[in-house]
């Protein structure tokens, strides 16, 4: 049954995987080949921007689309524990978020590995963005799991992202630089630390974000089979 669930998710999500791969890998290949700007700018745009785009795109369609089409009830009626269905959805979502970014990493290494950035630095940057994308997906799904439509799930995702930025800005009011709290408390810190190689706060960031990640995942699994919000 789990295999069938994976197959269903794959059929629903594969066009997003193709979309992310074509768009992001095409952007990286053309950008790095044409030497338009410095390599790190292209890599930041593709990896950073791509991780946000993929998390939003996948997060919108993971649960909210099922609620909107009314197919979630049928899914929950299957003889499988609801948390397993949720886990399959999240696993497939994470895969669809991660693969285009990993593809970009391969393209970047092939075209510009060691040119301006060392291969290690390129790998670290992309892996950091893969981690950010998966964390953002979990945050988005956790907060939008009861939304009745994809549009509202997308708005919740954008709201979550804006909330992180507001949190960092608010923390600037209370903490003088270097503002570790602002970096560690929101997943945006993963991007900042990845691109600036600030390994001295990496430990704190991993602990805090891992704890939040697990809590949000459990919270999402708990609310997965609950009734959705009204459309009005």
């Amino acid at each position: 049954m789990i295999k069938a669930l994976f197959w269903k998710e794959w059929c629903e999500q594969r066009w997003k995987l193709a979309y992310g791969c074509v768009l992001l890998m095409g952007f990286v290949a053309v950008g790095l080949r044409s030497r338009l700007v410095q390599d790190d700018i292209i890599i930041i745009m593709a990896a950073g921007g791509g991780s946000v785009l993929m998390a939003l795109l996948v997060g919108m369609g993971l649960v909210a689309a099922e609620r909107s089409e009314g197919s979630l009830e049928m899914l929950l009626a299957l003889p499988v524990r609801s948390w397993k269905i949720f886990a399959v959805k999240m696993a497939m979502g994470a895969l669809v978020c991660a693969l285009p970014i990993v593809g970009c990493m391969v393209v970047s290494l092939a075209i510009a590995g060691g040119r301006e950035m060392s291969a290690t630095r390129i790998i670290v940057a992309y892996l950091g963005c893969v981690a950010f994308s998966i964390v953002m997906l979990v945050w988005m799904v956790a907060f939008s799991i009861r939304q009745p439509s994809e549009a509202r799930a997308g708005l919740v995702g954008i709201g979550v992202f804006m909330g992180w930025i507001f949190t960092i800005l608010l923390s600037m009011l209370f903490f003088k630089p270097p503002n570790w709290f602002g970096l560690v408390i929101t997943p945006l810190g993963i991007l900042v630390i990845t691109f600036n190689l600030m390994y001295n706060v990496l430990g704190r960031l991993v602990v805090v974000q891992l704890a939040l990640f697990v809590c949000l995942l459990l919270w999402g699994a708990y609310r997965f089979d609950k009734e959705g919000m009204s459309k009005v």
């Binding site: 066009w15 997003k16 979309y19 074509v22 768009l23 095409g26 952007f27 053309v30 950008g31 080949r33 044409s34 030497r35 338009l36 700007v37 410095q38 390599d39 795109l57 919108m60 369609g61 301006e116 439509s149 994809e150 549009a151 997308g154 804006m162 507001f166 800005l169 608010l170 600037m172 009011l173 003088k176």
Partner: protein
């Protein structure tokens, strides 16, 4: 309650949340920044409203337009509205106007406040003009984007799809005119950057304008002899376009609602459309600015320390030559740079030779980073390089600058040598004249040195020692210039140039040496073609006639950079012409590199190649005998030129 007021009240009840959210984002955020600035810098100010409105203003307009349309146009509610005793157009127009008012209030008020705050601060004229331009020009873009999104909302009626399609169209409205040169007049960013704040201004008739004056048209006022109305033709055209587009969108919306038109679209189509538009814009940028020339080889210059170290000039003859290296420690000013020489032989396995550090009194004087002609070298005397050294001092009693040193240095390139071995003092020949610029050029074993237009000619013997042959006190170089522009803004003209008076050289050789010694203008010649570049244009001249020592060059072609090229920054410092191709080095930090222009076709200059070096600053260029080009930055680059092509006309090479 009258139906009009009732409609207004209903729309207001639904849309006030957008107003609150917009105010929180576009006013709250700058307020937070201002508070942070006040806490840490004791300055209650914010620079973000302008950036936020330019970056996210279009997105906010889209959200409002889609929000006000899609909610009321769902299947059940649309039928309800059609059953009400209210004309559809009235309902649609009320909805449109209330939404537009919210968009304009949320997006214009923060910029207006920032504009007002900037006007209070001293020395912020540029920022005030920029903010006024954003208010004047960008507002019409927002109206257009809102109107088009409103029409899309009425046609699609599914919020997420309407937002995606609107975003794709907004991207095209913002960026396509900036990227496609024929649409330049419709680019809001160009208009913001190049316009005066006012749409129409009343001014004195004879009053000239600053750099944007050519964009202004003047209408005389019949009853006031010395007054005229000036208006910006681009801005006016843009406003008419935006308002006409908005009006058409509103009409389309009303018709779509009245006739219940719906566009059936799917999620995949929408996302692919948005991605496709993004890629189209990106590829347009790449087509204009991207690299298409192949790098054959890169040679790192070692050791590359923490500071800035790069090639300032290349003097070469065939595969061999000398590099003048500029070395700057981190944090040092440009004047604190030290210089060294390094020989190279590109055919050797180890192409770079030993480095010879120049003492302070041997370092060349650069008037500006692209200043050329500081060092010459010839394969006939490979162990010697020649450099020019001048310095000036201020005469304190009257503040007059005078030259206190002018020498031609002969520098030994032998391994372990200490640099200069011979100095030829030129100061007595200047007789009190001040040398503001100096440059060197070497042709067939003869050195030509120009000190502020005074020409010194040296012969170099077998022993490598230069001997002064002749001094020409009559200033060589450009002696006159004339130009005019036609109705389309194209500039035509000619320049006259005093050629070096040297017997034994052909006219083309005299022209070449004269052009190479023109220090302050970025020029180069090849045969009877002369190319001049600066940040505003590239011009090609053709040698029309020579009368005595005066050559007349007529402009045959002219090219302005595209809006995107201007935005990327143009800072050409060197040009070199070979086989009808002009190789221009752009020393901009971010978008620098080598750009190749085809100047073979009369009346038309085309950009045919680019080699970007975004991570380093190129400052030197030299031709190689195999047709490749040698570029000097933080490393040496050997670049393949664009492939030659022939036209079908007599097989003559005149274009690609």
């Amino acid at each position: 309650m009258r139906s009009g007021v009732a409609l207004l009240w209903k729309e207001w009840r639904e849309i006030c949340w957008f107003l609150i959210a917009g105010a929180v984002i576009f006013v709250g955020w700058p307020l937070l920044e201002a508070l942070a600035n006040y806490r840490f810098r004791q300055s209650f100010s914010s620079g973000t409203p302008e950036e936020m409105v330019l970056l996210f203003g279009g997105a906010f307009a889209i959200f409002v337009a889609v929000g006000v349309t899609c909610r009321d146009l769902r299947e059940a509610i649309a039928c309800f509205w059609q059953s009400r005793p209210v004309a559809i157009w009235r309902w649609v127009v009320t909805k449109y106007l209330v939404g537009l008012a919210v968009v304009l209030v949320v997006l214009c008020v923060p910029v207006a406040i920032q504009d007002w705050m900037a006007k209070q601060a001293a020395g912020s004229e540029y920022q005030v003009r920029q903010l006024s331009n954003i208010l004047t020009c960008h507002t019409f873009t927002l109206i257009l984007i809102y109107s088009v999104s409103f029409a899309i909302g009425c046609l699609i009626r599914i919020p997420v799809y309407a937002v995606i399609l609107s975003a794709a169209l907004a991207l095209l409205v913002y960026f396509l005119p900036m990227l496609v040169p024929p649409l330049e007049s419709f680019s809001v960013f160009n208009i913001i950057m190049q316009s005066p704040a006012e749409i129409v201004q009343l001014s004195k008739l004879e009053q000239g304008g600053p750099w944007f004056a050519e964009k202004m048209r003047v209408v005389k006022i019949p009853w006031a002899d010395d007054l005229a109305l000036r208006y910006n033709i681009d801005l006016l055209r843009y406003i008419i376009f935006a308002l006409a587009g908005s009006f058409a969108a509103v009409v389309l919306s009303a018709v779509a609602v009245k006739r219940n038109w719906r566009l059936k679209v799917g999620q995949k189509l929408m996302f692919w459309l948005l991605g496709g538009v993004g890629m189209l814009l990106f590829l347009t940028v790449v087509f204009q600015l991207g690299s298409n020339l192949k790098c054959v080889k890169q040679i790192p210059i070692k050791p590359q320390g923490e500071g800035e170290r790069g090639v300032a000039q290349i003097a070469c003859d065939g595969d061999k030559g000398v590099l003048l290296l500029r070395n700057k420690k981190p944090g040092d000013a440009a004047d604190d740079a030290t210089y060294s020489l390094m020989t190279f032989d590109l055919s050797a396995k180890e192409p770079l030779g030993e480095e010879i550090v120049l003492a302070e009194d041997q370092m060349p004087t650069f008037s500006w980073p692209g200043d050329r002609g500081k060092i010459v070298w010839s394969a006939r005397n490979p162990q010697w390089a020649y450099s020019i050294k001048t310095s000036r001092r201020k005469y304190e009693p009257d503040g007059h600058w005078f030259t206190d040193r002018a020498e031609l240095l002969t520098i030994s390139l032998a391994a372990g040598s200490a640099g200069s071995v011979d100095k030829l003092d030129l100061l007595p020949h200047l007789k009190g004249q001040t040398a503001y610029s100096d440059s060197l050029y070497m042709l067939d074993g003869t050195i030509y040195a120009s000190l502020s237009g005074i020409l010194f000619i040296f012969d170099v013997g077998i022993d490598g020692k230069p001997v002064l042959r002749k001094i020409v006190k009559e200033r060589v170089g450009i002696s006159g210039q004339s130009g005019s522009s036609d109705a389309s803004g194209r500039v035509w003209g000619s320049i006259s140039m005093r050629l070096i008076p040297v017997e034994g050289l052909s006219i083309k050789e005299r022209l070449k040496v004269t052009v190479e010694l023109s220090g302050y203008r970025v020029m180069a010649s090849d045969g009877d073609v002369v190319v001049e570049v600066n940040s505003d244009f590239i011009r090609a001249y053709w040698l029309k006639e020579v009368s005595g020592d005066i050559a007349t060059l007529e402009m045959t072609a002219y090219r302005r950079p595209t809006p995107l090229e201007r935005l990327a920054g143009t800072n050409p410092t060197h040009v070199f012409v070979r086989n009808g191709l002009a190789y221009v080095i752009d020393s901009s930090w971010d978008f620098g590199g080598l750009t190749v222009y085809d100047v073979r076709r009369p009346q038309q200059i085309r950009r045919v190649g680019h080699y970007g070096t975004p991570d380093e600053r190129l400052l030197a260029i030299a031709p190689l005998p195999d047709g490749n080009i040698l570029l000097g930055g933080n490393k040496l680059h050997i670049v393949k030129p664009p492939r030659p092509a022939r036209t079908h006309k007599n097989g003559e090479t005149v274009g690609r």
